[in-house]
Amino acid sequence: MTTTATHRALGHRFSLGGNEDGLAFLERIFHRMKHSCLSGPTNSYELFIEDDIARSVIDGRTVYSGDIGEAASRLMTAINHGAVRSLHEHDVIHAAVVSFGGAAIIVAANSRRGKSTLCSALVSAGFGYMSDELAPIGHDLKVEPYAKPITIRAGSFSVIPHLEEFDIARQGSRRWILDAHLISDAGTTTTALPIGLVVIPWFVEGSDVQIRSLSPGEIAAALMTNSFNIPTRRRAGVERMAAVARSTRGVEIIHGNALDAASELRQVAEGFGA
């Protein structure tokens, strides 16, 4: 077994390891998180691939055995949790984030609401990539980028078939793992940006795109509902979410196709000058 140099997901430092095939796979996925730190990693994530069966190991404990894409996804989920835990002064929203015109667009939604699919469609439509999972909002109301690879479930493959070529997992598995940096000319945004727009997405099969403006109260409520850490931030988090809501615009978008939604949101962003 071998391990690599330290990687970093926000403040979460970690090392990668596994057998030769497993480590090569992880390095391909996480190479943009490579980071040289003075202090050592706090957690280790390993992948062992043998005969097309993958085993995920976190800090020496096996957490999954089976499909390779799923195994990598388990590790990514654990890394995301580590990233959330590493932030003490930020409010962390469960959201995809893209950039446009120097501002961040937060697509706030919990799991299985098509967040990553819409995010990849937005990046494909020319938005810069910041995250498909976390929106850490600092005291200056700016969003830190967390440009992890985009994970797409099999159910969404047919919606964005043109993005398969950016699947860096290339295992034909139940998940694609997309390197967003390669999808758009806008690439990956690496600096914190002010929030220009908050989007609440709803996927409704067969629906045309419908967009409705949100009141500041609705924006604040949506951010709080999708906060990872409001139970620890408490009053400070409530006040920061309210401050964001007072200073930005928001829309709810109902759609049946992520590409159509991305096209409409581009027009919204251009109209807002986001």
Binding site: S215, P216, G217, E218, I219, A220, A221, M224, T225, I230, P231, R234, R235, V238, E239, M241, A242, A245, R246
Partner: protein, 99 residues
């Protein structure tokens, strides 16, 4: 409308985090990690839920301010207070069913 209900003086649960966002109150209930939003009408009513203002008094004010009949106002206020109670946003000792 039973008089016992109209003489109730509901008040919010303790521990709620309440914030005004451009005229709408957003309430986070830390006990269950749930978020609620009141529209401007609900926000206006919420501000009088102080444990001393009765539902009858609140309905009288609502009737005068919104130009609706006393019966309509009482009905609207009771429905609003009941919805708050269902969301566990009222102190247990001021629940309507205690009347």
């Amino acid at each position: 409308m039973p008089d016992e209900i109209l003489q109730q003086s509901p008040r919010p649960s303790t521990g709620l985090e309440v914030i005004d966002v451009c005229g709408e109150l957003v309430i986070w209930d830390p006990e269950v990690d749930r978020v609620h939003r009141l529209d401007p009408v609900g926000t206006a009513l919420w501000r009088f839920l102080d444990g001393s203002t009765t539902i009858a008094e609140l309905a009288d004010d609502a009737s005068a301010v919104w130009g609706i009949s006393a019966d309509e106002a009482r009905e609207a206020v009771v429905v609003f207070v009941s919805s708050l109670q269902q969301m566990n946003l009222l102190a247990a000792d001021s629940h309507l069913d205690r009347a």
